[in-house]
Amino acid sequence: MTHILAASQFGASHAVTITLAMSALLFTIGLIGFLVRRNMILMFLCTEIMFQAAALAFIAFGRMRMDTGGQIFVIFILTIAAAEAALALGLVILLFRRKETLSSEAWSELHE
C-alpha cells in the first residue's frame, strides 16, 4: 500500500526545520564552490547544488503547509536545471574548442 496522507503522519515540524537548515547550508556551499572553483564544468555543477538546495526548501515548505504546490514547483526546477545543464555544457564545449582548456581564468579577458 502506498503512502497515504493521514493525520497520524502530521507533526513533522522537526523534519521541516532540519531540511530548511540543510537547504541553507547546501545553498551556501554551492555559492562558495561557484566562487572558488576554476573549472567551468564544476562551476556549473555548483549551480546544480544551489538548485538542489532550492528544491529541498520547496519540498519542506510544501510539507509544512500540506500543499502539493511545493512538489510541483520542484518538477519545474528539474526542468530548468536540465535545460540549463544542456545549454551550459554546450557553451563549455564551445569554449573548450577555442582554447583547449576548461579554466575560467583563460577567459578573464574577453577581447579577441
Binding site: H3, S13, G30, M64, M66, A85
Partner: protein, 361 residues
C-alpha cells in the same frame, strides 16, 4: 540608524502579534534581544572551517577544518531544531540528521575535490541523500524523479562533457602531469567564504522567522487535507468508482451530483449497481488518495499552463544545445561530389586522354 532600529523593532512586534500563540518556552530559552546570535556564531564557525578545507595546506589542518566546519553546521542545525519547538513523532530524526550530514559532506567534497570526475560523483551522493529526505517528507514522486533526472540524466551529461573535454592525467607521455593544475589552488577562498558567511547569516534570519508547526495547527492542516482529498475524489470519477467497489463489489457507475452534500470529507454519491438499482452512498474521501495521485492531479488541474511552458523551455534548450555544440566542418569540393555520387573534377588531364573521352569533364 535609530530609525532603522525602531523600524526593525516594530516589524518584530508585528511578527510576534501575528503569531498569536504563546511562545513562553522560546522566550525563556532565547535572549530576546539577539535571537539570531547563535546562528551567526554557527555560520562563522562553519565559514572558518570551510576556509581551512579550501586552502591548500597540510592534510592535518584540512582535517581540523573539516571538524570545525562540521561543528558549525551541527550548531546551525541544532539551533534551528531548538526553534522548532518540542519534538514530535512521525519522522525518524536520527536518520534525517545522518542524511543531512552525508549530503553536506558530499557537497563539500564537490567543491574541494581536485579531480572533476570525482566531484561529479560526489554530487550524486548529495542528490541521493536529498532524494531520501524527500521520501521522509512524503514527496515520493519527486524523490524518484530527482534520482532519475538528476543522477541519471543531468549528471551523466556532466560526466560525458568532463570526459570529452578533460583527458585526465597524461603522465605516460610526460607533457602534462596533472590536468587539474589550474583548479588545484582555489580562487579567492577568503572572499568566497566571507560571501558565504553573509549569505548563511541572512538565510538564518529567514529560517528563524519560519513559524513552527503550531502556527498551522494540526487540526486545520487535517481539515485542509480532507478538503483537498474530497475535491480530488470528486474530480476523478473512475477512482471514486474503485473506492466504492471496495465495499460494494457490484457497483457499475458512480456519480456525484452537482449539488451533492459534502460534509467534512464525506461525499454523497449516486451509485448504480449491476442489477439496475440506484442508491445514495456516503463515501469518506479521507485516505483514499495518495501523494503521487495528488501531485499528478494538481499538476494538470492547477498548473496546466506551467506544464506547457516547461515543455517549450525544454524544446528551446534542445535547439540551443544543438546550435551551440554543432561543429562547422569544411568539406572540400571532392568530398561533396563523392557524397553526391558525382565524378570528381580533374583539371590536369592530358590532352590525348581528353580527346579519347570525347571532351571529358
Amino acid at each position: 540608524m535609530r530609525r532603522i532600529l525602531s523600524l526593525a523593532h516594530r516589524r518584530k512586534e508585528s511578527c510576534e502579534s501575528l503569531r498569536n500563540h504563546p511562545r513562553t518556552e522560546r522566550e525563556t530559552l532565547v535572549p530576546h534581544s539577539m535571537p539570531l546570535l547563535p546562528f551567526y556564531i554557527a555560520s562563522a564557525v562553519a565559514a572558518v572551517g570551510l576556509f581551512y578545507i579550501l586552502r591548500p595546506n597540510k592534510p592535518a589542518l584540512r582535517r581540523g577544518g573539516a571538524v570545525v566546519a562540521l561543528a558549525g553546521a551541527g550548531l546551525f542545525i541544532s539551533e534551528a531544531l531548538r526553534l522548532a519547538g518540542p519534538p514530535s513523532a512521525g519522522v525518524p530524526i536520527v536518520l534525517l540528521i545522518a542524511l543531512v550530514v552525508i549530503g553536506l559532506y558530499a557537497a563539500v567534497r564537490v567543491i574541494t575535490h581536485p579531480r572533476p570526475v570525482f566531484a561529479a560523483l560526489y554530487f550524486i551522493v548529495t542528490v541521493v541523500a536529498s532524494a531520501i529526505i524527500f521520501l521522509l517528507l512524503q514527496a515520493e514522486f519527486m524523490a524518484f524523479a530527482l534520482i532519475i533526472v538528476y543522477a541519471g540524466a543531468i549528471l551523466i551529461t556532466y560526466m560525458f562533457v568532463l570526459m570529452l573535454a578533460d583527458q585526465g592525467p597524461r603522465d605516460s607521455i610526460g607533457h602534462i602531469d596533472d590536468d587539474g593544475d589550474y583548479d588545484r589552488v582555489p580562487r579567492e577562498p577568503m572572499a568566497a567564504v566571507l560571501v558565504g558567511f553573509i549569505l548563511l547569516g541572512t538565510l538564518a534570519a529567514v529560517v528563524e522567522r519560519i513559524p513552527n508547526a503550531s502556527v498551522l495547527a494540526e487540526s486545520s492542516l487535517d481539515q485542509k487535507v480532507a478538503r483537498q482529498q474530497t475535491d480530488a475524489l470528486v474530480m476523478m470519477p473512475k477512482h471514486l468508482l474503485n473506492v466504492i467497489k471496495r465495499n460494494n463489489p457490484t457497483a457499475v457507475s458512480a456519480l456525484v451530483p452537482a449539488n451533492a452534500a459534502i460534509q467534512g470529507s464525506v461525499v454523497q454519491t449516486q451509485v448504480t449497481f449491476a442489477d439496475g438499482t440506484v442508491k445514495d452512498i456516503a463515501v469518506d474521501a479521507a485516505g483514499t488518495i495518495d501523494n503521487t495521485q495528488m501531485v499528478g492531479l494538481d499538476l494538470v488541474a492547477r498548473y496546466p499552463a506551467s506544464l506547457e511552458l516547461a515543455g517549450i523551455i525544454l524544446l528551446m534548450a534542445m535547439f540551443g544545445a544543438v546550435v551551440l555544440a554543432r561543429r562547422q566542418i569544411e568539406f572540400g569540393e571532392d568530398e561533396v561530389r563523392d557524397a553526391a555520387g558525382l565524378r570528381r573534377i580533374v583539371l590536369d588531364v592530358p590532352d590525348h586522354e581528353r580527346a579519347a573521352n570525347g571532351g571529358g569533364a
